[in-house]
Symmetry: D2
Subunit: 336 residues, 4 copies
Amino acid sequence: MAQAPLRIGLIGTGRIGQVHATNIAADPGSELTLVADPFVDGATATAARCGGTATGDPADVFRPGAVDAVIIASPTPTHVDLIAAAVEAGLPVLCEKPIDLDIARVEALRPVVAGAGVPVAIGFNRRFDAHFLAARDRVAAGEIGDLEQLTIVSRDPAAPPAEYVGVSGGIFRDMTIHDLDMARFFLPDIAEVSAVGTVMFDAGAREHGDADTAVTTLRASTGAIVTIVNSRHSAVGYDQRIEAFGGKGMLQVANAPSSLVSFSGAQSVEAKPPYQEFFLERYSQAYASELAEFLKLARGEESASPTFDDGRAALLLADAAQRSADEGARVRVDLT
Amino acid sequence: MAQAPLRIGLIGTGRIGQVHATNIAADPGSELTLVADPFVDGATATAARCGGTATGDPADVFRPGAVDAVIIASPTPTHVDLIAAAVEAGLPVLCEKPIDLDIARVEALRPVVAGAGVPVAIGFNRRFDAHFLAARDRVAAGEIGDLEQLTIVSRDPAAPPAEYVGVSGGIFRDMTIHDLDMARFFLPDIAEVSAVGTVMFDAGAREHGDADTAVTTLRASTGAIVTIVNSRHSAVGYDQRIEAFGGKGMLQVANAPSSLVSFSGAQSVEAKPPYQEFFLERYSQAYASELAEFLKLARGEESASPTFDDGRAALLLADAAQRSADEGARVRVDLT
Amino acid sequence: MAQAPLRIGLIGTGRIGQVHATNIAADPGSELTLVADPFVDGATATAARCGGTATGDPADVFRPGAVDAVIIASPTPTHVDLIAAAVEAGLPVLCEKPIDLDIARVEALRPVVAGAGVPVAIGFNRRFDAHFLAARDRVAAGEIGDLEQLTIVSRDPAAPPAEYVGVSGGIFRDMTIHDLDMARFFLPDIAEVSAVGTVMFDAGAREHGDADTAVTTLRASTGAIVTIVNSRHSAVGYDQRIEAFGGKGMLQVANAPSSLVSFSGAQSVEAKPPYQEFFLERYSQAYASELAEFLKLARGEESASPTFDDGRAALLLADAAQRSADEGARVRVDLT
Amino acid sequence: MAQAPLRIGLIGTGRIGQVHATNIAADPGSELTLVADPFVDGATATAARCGGTATGDPADVFRPGAVDAVIIASPTPTHVDLIAAAVEAGLPVLCEKPIDLDIARVEALRPVVAGAGVPVAIGFNRRFDAHFLAARDRVAAGEIGDLEQLTIVSRDPAAPPAEYVGVSGGIFRDMTIHDLDMARFFLPDIAEVSAVGTVMFDAGAREHGDADTAVTTLRASTGAIVTIVNSRHSAVGYDQRIEAFGGKGMLQVANAPSSLVSFSGAQSVEAKPPYQEFFLERYSQAYASELAEFLKLARGEESASPTFDDGRAALLLADAAQRSADEGARVRVDLT
């Protein structure tokens, strides 16, 4: 309450960087102090809108005393070095997923993070969605008995551009990774991964040897089975549903209705599709809560922020899914 | 776009005054310039939060050049004089409903307003709710054929304090009046009113000879029948539904779900009640749209703001409903 | 179980007579023994299908020893005399609603029925619908606290032929009467009636001075308000919903879905309208249960069959509704 | 219409045999002529209820002129020999699934069936469910564009007795086989199978090395992916849902509601679980339609009955699923 706002250095001013900037400005516990982007116009515009000083050089963020905490929303290949820099500077950091597309680089960074004692959070924002969180908490409270099956339907509105597909790391590392983390939110210890991918519609996926449609099956150490149904497009809109099934019943999280109006006629009952546009709209509350939780982490308070090891685990699972899809074999994983 | 923001003088800083202040601060087309409230601490706090200068004297708002437009959110007995002052000062005005509880005072003001050529809008915010508006527009577009029956369910979460009931003008003038205006939003020309009121639970209503439960039936000049089902309490939460029935089908507006999570077990399927807390939450978008539409009106642009005559019509209908409930007879009305 | 089946005499082989014949044949506790219809071909065909002997003369049913109980499904004007004959013959009788369109004839019959000690049931089949019954029982069990508002939406798929409208007794005695009985199923003691009727679409109603659209408002002696929304047509299909609202919550009975399939596309989510064709389909279970309950009544067991006085009360309410609609005044009723 | 009813010989009078007997008695196109069961009391009771002569010897069914068609509802190990006998006798046959648990015996029978020219239908009753059929037809009509993902949730109310599990052939051959056929109803040409099984709750499954929880993933030759989520129990009741997803939208088949009544209170909205008890109730219409379609097949008319090769394909897929679950590898199949 009486605490001074945390001074945040934001690196990267793309779509998600904008979301973080807006939320920092709105959260009384934080203020936007430095905005860094080599595309300096983006930094300048963001600072004008949400406060702070703009710079084209991310290294400014790590200068002694410049900021209290760092949020990394720059392109994936920069994440590992920027996390390392933040850790070295002793600055708590929230980094967008994935940590990297190359698990070797993540493993190399791991002991550095573990040894430094500096909090590192990874931006798995869906953990903060009030509906998924409520479902998870109710499962954890035993409402459905033992969790036996978790079914995640996760479909994007439209496939990304072909050039993005080419550098995305593939559907499992780029898109499924969010669902793999959600699986671990309910069942942290995943032991086995199977996956099937196929190209049904997207020329970009075909061109780059990627899939646009995929189903991933996980077995947790408890025996519970997770099924993730992914598609890179959805005529109906952004489709994000979860069903947790247990011995005593099930909990379902539906899509949000986009209108309260329905029409009933002789032939049909019609309503607007129950979907919001895309992740910035569907998860706007989740991004704000993610920031609030990171502020706690940065202050040394108890926090629900996903950790560096959560980021690593999701990438290990995505790698296993890709290998299973490629080779046709179930893949055992060890997340410890 | 390039227009200067309209300078708004706000009179009254209660619940709804706060909503207007927040929306004025957030709307680039307006700025809060003067905040007037005889309870000057309220004015000061609001100005500190949303901008402008605080004053304890509403007359300051009407000083030449002080503001460009006025919003009246003060207690009902002050409305008529403040509207008159605004009109005299040539200032466009948005006044909360009702104009007054005494139709005689409204009729006396009517020619003043009509002759002045100054825009006067009344705060029937529900007309701006995106869902009701969509339903009305679809009815107007002929989607259900002729509108034959309009059924409005409107229940507040909890009865107001007994002292408020005593000065409220009664359930029809205080609560039903919103639904009467909604009826006119779909069917402007109402010809007859019947009403039944009863006391089922509220000691305050009993004490003041008021009802806590009421059903009002209207007949439009088209022959269509409107039914308004009101209750001063609702265990389930704020209940605001509309069903428009016509020869080709019907349009329904449901309550908003408060959660996307549902539980299915051996005995039942459960979800959170599909209701938001109360009008400030349910109609937050509507208040913002109401302001935007008033800014257009104040600028002389085409506007959907309800007029002084809409405010008068709603009060005439409320009076008729009260009389019908008291006397047990259907009451003819002439809204012209 | 070991009881011999009750031998039933059925008078009238129209639509509802057919339903009773089918149910009698299917119920092990009854057998169709005599089928009487002046249109003797109807009687013959029904007997061939469901058992028993056909006759063109209803008087055969009342011959000593011919049958154990009587079901009257002949035209309304015959009901009073046939009930009187059954009572005189000492035969338990189930008569379709209404008892008569003329309350004077009903009042004249009333002491005859009361004095005879012969069970007379009236065919208000909706009381036996499992869903309405469950809602009523849950209200009676206090699940929603005191019942404060009961809202009944009741719309037929299509208006009857003009010639039927002419002899129907009007929408209140012909159609609303079912809903008036349903109101009394929840709130037996109705004290006041208001009604509004209008012609919106049906030439037959206009020709005969009847209404095709009506809203009836009742006040029970408890203070609770009942609202009945009627239409003689519904593009969506047979529309039969109830909402019981009380201090602790509400119970709603929805229409039955006609399909489990729904389509979600870019513009809309579509399903089949949640309605069944008409009363024979919607209330098929109710007719079977009605018969079962009448068999109990005829055997002298405890039974939930609506009584002669329930039939009289519904007609008194329908008369009051018609008068209120005609005269524009609330009408007090005394059902004792 | 004018055709004589087909004389049916029914072998087996367990649960499903009873269903067939009832439907034969109700269908004017068929009559129950012979009922065979080594447990002759079952045969006698069934014949008493539904017609025909009882016998303890199934061979009686195949005597020249005894019947026109055969329905086999006896235990699985008898199916192959009884189909062979029917084919040899030239009698059209409807046999319950599975043909056998041993694919070798099915392959041995295949040329016999193929060469005989006698219609052999397999009892995949779910193909005849009006809702699944409508969804399939709408997919086939192109309503959702290319079918990209088919997701089947199929959960039984409760695990079978341990002794049954021991002889069931395992969850894939016993339970999933219905869903595998449903997958082929939408996508006949399945090319690959992956499966994961686990024991979460059932001691019988653990004892017999079977699974009680399984997810099976299929890839069709079109590239489309089918996901089948199975559980041997469901606290909520029999759970049978399908979601067909394509480029233009999706079609969903929901569970049937068991009540039209819902309660809304301060804490929750509650309804009965939307599930019917078990397959005899959920698929009662499907069994009747299955019989009707078999009667057409037996008469040489065009028919939608699943064929012997459909029965073989489902078993091949179940075998592949079992192998994939056991070995952890994706299994390619060739259903031609």
